[in-house]
Symmetry: C2
Subunit: 208 residues, 2 copies
DNA sequence: ACCTGAACACCGTTCAAGT
DNA sequence: ACCTGAACACCGTTCAAGT
């Protein structure tokens, strides 16, 4: 973890402050949410001065983008693992992915919020978008598998993947942001997701 | 608009500062987005001291909640008007609503973001939730009409409405937040929405 | 090269004081 | 009752200075 320290006693504070800041930031976001996230407090956690981060991140926004990127990497891994463990890589795999997607959001709202924060310009942080795209690719490939298995054209794979992704994202967002107050969320969310996948599946079967 | 002013010359600044603050806030949010929204700047716009708002709103969050509430009222009106103008109040009406929904978001991202801001606790601002619920009701009623027109049970109206709402919300959010980079958004968003409504419609026809 | 200390502008909130 | 002025704590960012 810690890079080989320079040997001049204890010279400065860290071997890898950049990484340490990211770790402290992830903790802080999980604790207080993106709203309560403060550069100053990250510095306190990492034990450095408030000016230190600027050597490694251009500004607060850049650090948030790094948090989001790390979040999407984790997201990708969880989706990929879930798909691996599913025996079926087509329609049942899709259900697995969809459930995993929403569970991730519910299990960690603050991080999910940072990942999809509207404050983070995707044009400004291409790596953020690229990492999100990689996670999305797990869905994309599965949808492609579904189409192939159904003897359908794969030319609309992207739009169809967008369709199922947006639906999961919509449910997850509404759920996490407290808009689903008239149902027992914890119990019914899987049901909602299943319905979403089901209507999507029907859509595929009905498409050319 | 302006309440009857007390006659002691020009006594203080406003007849209705609360309303003036809300108007200034809406402008500011539309200009700079929720991130750039600042109490101090609202005060400057309204021409009052920075302490003045605290007589009318408990804190910054409460003012944001008021903005969001006003947003949902407008949202409700636009949805209701769109439905009125649609000759069909069932499936075609649903398409109209869905398109109106997403267009609203695209036409004014900052306000849409405040409305669905995760920082605004719905438990803390029941009026915010109630107003959102009223907008949602337009969808709810239309879904109910669809079910009735199809001779289906209406016992799952809520969950089904949630399904179409979340799908629209997911698409709108991804769109507004810059995640739809591989399609020409402006042109294809209506198409996406139509696909969403279509698969939803099939779902209804296939349900008990 | 990497970090500190001090400084600056700005913000949210409070409170005594004014009318 | 409604607003101001001044004050406080806190934050993001910069920059000269240290090692």
């Amino acid at each position: 973890m810690v890079k080989p320290e320079t040997r001049t006693g204890k010279s400065y504070h860290h071997g890898d402050l950049k990484e340490a800041l990211l770790r402290a930031s992830l903790e802080l976001v999980d604790e207080k949410g993106p709203h309560g996230f403060t550069l100053a407090e990250v510095c306190r956690k990492a034990g450095v001065s408030v000016a230190a981060p600027y050597r490694h991140y251009r500004d607060k926004e850049a650090l948030l983008a790094a948090i989001a990127t790390a979040g999407f990497e984790l997201y990708h891994d969880q989706l990929a693992r879930a798909l691996e463990q599913s025996e079926d890589k087509t329609f049942k795999g899709l259900t697995t992915l969809a459930r995993t997607y929403v569970r991730f959001a519910i299990a960690n709202p603050p991080r999910y919020r940072v990942m999809f924060s509207s404050d983070l310009s995707k044009a400004k942080f291409p790596e953020l978008y690229a990492t999100a795209r990689r996670a999305f690719d797990v869905v994309f490939c599965t949808v492609e598998n579904c189409l192939i298995a159904s003897n359908k054209s794969t030319e609309n794979t992207y739009v169809l993947s967008l369709l199922i992704w947006s639906h999961c994202h919509g449910i997850a967002t509404l759920c996490v942001d407290g808009f689903l107050r008239e149902i027992a969320v914890e119990e019914q969310v899987d049901h909602l997701i299943d319905l979403a996948v089901e209507s999507f599946t029907n859509k595929i079967h009905g498409s050319p």
